[in-house]
Amino acid sequence: MERQMETDQFSQNDTILSSALNEKMQYLNDLNDSVKNGDDLQIYQLMDPNRYANELATEETEKSQTDHFGLASDLTAQLSHHLSNKLIDYLGATYPFFYYHEYELGKFHIYFGNWWDHRMFGELDPINVRFNFDDNAYQMLSKSFQLEAENRRVNDDTMQKLGDENERITKLISEQDQRDKRKEEIREQLKENQEKSPMPWEAGKVKEERQRLNDEMLKLTQIDEEATGGRSTIKENENKILALSKEETILSLEKQNIRATFGSFDAFIENNNNLYTKYLQSLSKESQVSDGE
């Protein structure tokens, strides 16, 4: 009896199995058709039906949908490459300042701008329609926007310090003649000092004077040394200033471009956060237009 029950309990197994397999086959067929037909919207729906339903707020019921993407997840790189075509066209219009380089199938570096020494700004993820910005690059830009509100720049303090340092060294170099003259005087005074044969009660004072002259001489020699190596320090600092100016130039171009397209950094962030929805809406509009034709 027990056995009989068991058989009954699972009597529908094959039907269920068959239907599940059919569903999976249907899924893969649908995916394949969407790829062949260039229906990227459908691909996004098939890849992540729940996100699709949530973010596009379709009329369909809110119940969670079966996600079969596991069946094709080993093809992510190929899908990513496929999806990148239309996505990059779209981004070309909406983010005209970004440039992409596919360094590996389906993987893309983002470059900000196409000016000299533009920055690598992170990666593009076509599967999730998302920018994965490089933390450092993004933080620096964000900081630059913040400081701008206070009329300051990221590298101002450092550049100011290097500039001051160069001014100081230039002065040391130009004062060489004065120092040489002073050293000559000190030598004379030292000589006089040594020739003195003081009374015992004056001996301390004479010794003190000698010490003072020697100290001053030492200090002047130290300054001489710094002045001698000064030119190469100045050159080094100039190179550092140049590198920082370059960074500021790049940041300023990045800010200009963001403002020209989005108006503000906040609007840019907002747009990034809604990129998936906006892009899929644009695809959907496109397909409606072509359906209507």
Partner: protein, 312 residues
């Protein structure tokens, strides 16, 4: 010596007189040949005759043992007279004149637009047919002229030193007027006389490659151009060939790149494109002070190469 002299055949008085008169005659003939060429140089309206007169008068040995001429034009003067007459025959002499025609032996010339600056030719120490044209004050060789070999070569570094640095502060149009006259003269020599011309930094043809002396350019140099451009509201753009380009006013585009990117010896330089094919490297430095500053800051690397054999 003594024995040689005693062995010399004695000559008769008649022979002596005849020899003398032959020698004087030869000297006079030589003089009249010179004079004839000189007439041609100063009066002909035919370009080819002008050129051949100038060539024959250059290195002309006018004095002989029996006949000497105390007042002579120098070879340098001949070049200058040729140059002045070439311009006047071509109808482009306004702005250029010989400034001291009353003084024989070292003629100078002036460009009206450049004020008091005088110029003259100087003979090359390497080649007696070659002459350098330059300012009298410092003798920078602006160009090299060899009428016999039909060559004219401009010297980029000197042209920049003189017209961009020495004449700084002068009106740019005045400088360009003088330079245009020089390039026009060179173009006439090329087209009408078949001269070989190296326009160097004055070459306005699109795509002309102005090669930098350094070969390889350090990244700092490009960074500096990038920063300076941005300060002047131009953006230095990255190019696919690994170089960079600047789009300037009037659709002028300057590109800096390594022309030997695939080889192992870098060959950095610049090209300029503009619709009129008018802009050249020197004009660019005059027109854009920030590019001039960049060039002068990095002159060692950026100097444009000229013919090193002739100017070296």
């Amino acid at each position: 010596m003594v024995s040689n002299e005693t062995e010399e055949k004695a000559i008769t008085t008649n022979e002596l007189l005849a020899n003398y008169s032959d020698s004087v005659q030869n000297g006079l003939d030589n003089g009249s040949k010179y004079l004839q060429a000189f007439h041609t140089l100063s009066e002909t309206t035919d370009g080819q005759s002008l050129l051949s007169a100038a060539v024959s008068l250059t290195n002309f040995k006018l004095n002989s043992d029996f006949v000497t001429f105390p007042h002579q034009f120098s070879d340098e003067d001949v070049q200058l007279i040729f140059f002045e007459r070439l311009l006047s025959l071509s109808g482009i002499e306004n702005n250029f004149r010989i400034s001291n025609p009353q003084r024989v032996q070292k003629l100078l010339c002036k460009f009206d637009s450049l004020g008091d600056q005088t110029f003259t030719f100087t003979k090359s120490t390497k080649n007696s047919d070659g002459f350098f044209f330059g300012p009298t004050l410092n003798n920078r060789p602006l160009f090299y002229l060899n009428l016999k070999n039909k060559e004219l070569m401009f010297h980029g570094a000197s042209l920049i030193e003189y017209f961009v640095v020495d004449l700084e502060g002068l009106e740019i149009d005045a400088i360009k007027n003088a330079l245009e006259l020089l390039t026009k003269a060179a173009a006439i020599l090329k087209e009408n006389f078949g001269f070989k011309i190296d326009f160097n930094v004055l070459d306005g043809v699109n795509g002309e490659f102005y090669q930098f002396a350094a070969g390889a350019l350090s990244e700092d140099v490009m960074d500096e151009l990038f920063v300076k451009s941005a300060e002047n509201h131009f953006v230095l753009m990255a190019e696919d060939n690994g170089g960079a380009s600047l789009t300037l006013g009037n659709g002028t585009k300057m590109t800096v790149y390594d022309a030997n990117q695939n080889g192992n010896r870098p060959k950095w330089g610049a090209t300029i494109r503009d619709d009129q094919q008018n802009e050249n490297w020197l004009y660019l430095l005059l027109d854009y002070p920030f590019i001039k500053k960049w060039y002068l800051n990095n002159q060692k690397q950026l100097e444009i190469l000229s013919n090193q054999f002739i100017f070296g």
